[in-house]
C-alpha cells in the first residue's frame, strides 16, 4: 500500500501524517508513507483543500483531519484485495 499525505507544511498536515502512521501501525498493515509538500505535485491530484490523503493513488480525504479510528476505517476500506 502506498500512502501519500498532501500538504504544504501546516499543522493540519502534520497531524494527518501522525494519525495516519498511527492508524497503519495499529492495523499492522505494511505501507510506505510519503509526505508530498511540493505544490505542483499536490495540484496534480486535483484537490482544492489540504491536507489530503492518497491511498494507492486514490484521493480518500481532502480538507479535513479524521481521527485515528476514522482513518483506520478508510485504510481498511481502501485496501487492495491481494489475489
Amino acid at each position: 500500500m502506498i500512502v501519500k499525505i498532501l500538504g504544504s507544511g501546516c499543522m493540519n498536515c502534520t497531524t494527518l501524517e501522525k494519525r495516519t502512521r498511527e492508524a497503519l501501525t495499529q492495523l499492522d498493515i505494511p505501507a510506505t508513507v510519503e509526505k508530498v509538500q511540493d505544490i505542483q505535485r499536490i495540484i496534480a491530484y486535483g484537490i482544492l483543500s489540504t491536507p489530503g490523503l492518497v491511498i494507492d493513488e486514490k484521493v480518500v480525504v481532502s480538507g479535513r483531519v479524521p481521527t485515528v479510528d476514522a482513518l483506520k476505517e478508510l485504510i481498511v476500506a481502501n485496501q487492495k484485495q491481494e489475489a
Binding site: 491530484y45 484537490i47 484521493v59 476514522a70
Partner: protein, 328 residues
C-alpha cells in the same frame, strides 16, 4: 439530552457566580476587584458553553459543504451574483487558510473570475462563526446580525472592486500555466452519525486550540471592566474622535487573533465607551486580515496584488466603521 444539560448549566451560571463571589468569598460589591472577578468567573464558562454549542452546530452544517461544491456553484455565475454567492459560501464552506493556494488555483482554473475568488477569500476568515455566536451571547442578536451583514457587504464589494481593477497581470504566471489533475476527491457517503461525529470533533479541535485565548482575553476584559475608569476609552475610541476608526483599524490589521480571544476585549472596550462602529471595525481588521494567510497568498499573488488586496479590505472596513458610528 446533552442539550438539556447545556441549558441547565447555562441558565444557572449567573446565580452560581453571584453566590460564589458575594457570599462565599464575601467581597465588597463595589470594589474594582470584585467587579473584575465577577466578570471573569461569569464570562469564561459562559463563553465556553456558547462556543461549544455553536461550533458543534456549524461543524455539522459544514459537512454539507465543500470547496469542490462551492467551485461548482460559482463556475458559471455572472460577476455580481458570483461575488454575493462567494461571500455567502465563504461562511459555510470548510476552509483553512493553509489551503488558500490549492483553492485559489482550482478556482482560477475553473474560470471563476478573480474578484469572485477574492470575495470568498475575504469572507471566509472575516465572518467567523465563533465571533457570531460570541457577539450574540454578549451583545444580542442585533450586533451579531450587524457583524455578519457588514462582513458580507465588505466581502462582496471589495471582491467586486478588486475584480474591476484588472489585476490578472498580478497573479503569478505559473498559476495560469499549471494544469491540475482531474481526479479530486472521491464521492463520500456521509451518514448522519458521521455528521454528528464531525461536529463533535470540531468542538474538540477548536475548543482545545482556543480556550486559553478566551481565558486570557476575558482576563484582559475583566481588568478593563473592573479597573479602567468609565469614560477613558470614550476619548480614544468614542464617536467624537474622527480618527478613532482609522486608528483602530490600522492597529487591528497587523494584529491577528482568533475570534474567541478578541471578543471579550471588544466587549470591555464597548462598556467603557468605545462606539460600536469603531469596536466592530477593530475586531474585523484583527480577524479578517492575517499575516500567515498573506504570506501564503504570496505564493500565488505578486506583491502589487497583495498590497491592493490589503488596502481595499482595510478601506472597506474603515468605511463600515464610519457608517456605523454615523447611524448609531
Amino acid at each position: 439530552m446533552l442539550l438539556g444539560v447545556w441549558i441547565l448549566l447555562y441558565a444557572s451560571l449567573m446565580p452560581l457566580v453571584d453566590f460564589f463571589v458575594f457570599k462565599i468569598v464575601n467581597l465588597p460589591s463595589d470594589s474594582a476587584f470584585t467587579s473584575a472577578l465577577h466578570f471573569f468567573l461569569y464570562e469564561v464558562p459562559k463563553v465556553l458553553l456558547l462556543l461549544m454549542l455553536i461550533v458543534f452546530g456549524i461543524g455539522i452544517v459544514r459537512t454539507y459543504f465543500s470547496p469542490e461544491k462551492t467551485r461548482a456553484i460559482l463556475e458559471r455565475k455572472s460577476l455580481f451574483t458570483g461575488n454575493v454567492l462567494a461571500s455567502l459560501l465563504g461562511i459555510v464552506t470548510p476552509f483553512c487558510s493553509c489551503s488558500a493556494v490549492p483553492l485559489f488555483i482550482g478556482f482560477v482554473e475553473a474560470g471563476i473570475p478573480l474578484g469572485v475568488t477574492f470575495s470568498f477569500l475575504i469572507a471566509a476568515p472575516m465572518i467567523n462563526e465563533v465571533a457570531v455566536v460570541l457577539l450574540f451571547g454578549l451583545f444580542g442578536w442585533k450586533t451579531a446580525l450587524l457583524y455578519v451583514s457588514t462582513g458580507l457587504l465588505i466581502a462582496i464589494t471589495t471582491g467586486f472592486v478588486i475584480g474591476k481593477l484588472k489585476v490578472e497581470r498580478f497573479v503569478e504566471d505559473w498559476v495560469y500555466q499549471i494544469r491540475s489533475g482531474q481526479q479530486g476527491m472521491i464521492e463520500e457517503h456521509v451518514t448522519f452519525t458521521d455528521r454528528f461525529e464531525r461536529g463533535y470533533q470540531a468542538v474538540r479541535d477548536i475548543v482545545s486550540k482556543v480556550w486559553l485565548y478566551i481565558v486570557i482575553g476575558i482576563a484582559v476584559g475583566a481588568g478593563i471592566h473592573g479597573y479602567v475608569p468609565q469614560d477613558f476609552m470614550a476619548g480614544l475610541m468614542g464617536k467624537s474622535a474622527w480618527w478613532s476608526v482609522p486608528v483602530s483599524v490600522l492597529i487591528g490589521v497587523p494584529l491577528y487573533s482568533n475570534a474567541a480571544g478578541i471578543i471579550p476585549v471588544v466587549q470591555a472596550l464597548l462598556e467603557k465607551g468605545a462606539s460600536l462602529g469603531t469596536a466592530l471595525a477593530f475586531m474585523m481588521s484583527v480577524i479578517g486580515l492575517s499575516l500567515p494567510e498573506t504570506i501564503i497568498l504570496r505564493k500565488v499573488l505578486k506583491l502589487p496584488l497583495i498590497a491592493i488586496f490589503l488596502s481595499v479590505v482595510t478601506i472597506g472596513i474603515m468605511i463600515v466603521g464610519y457608517v456605523f458610528n454615523f447611524v448609531y
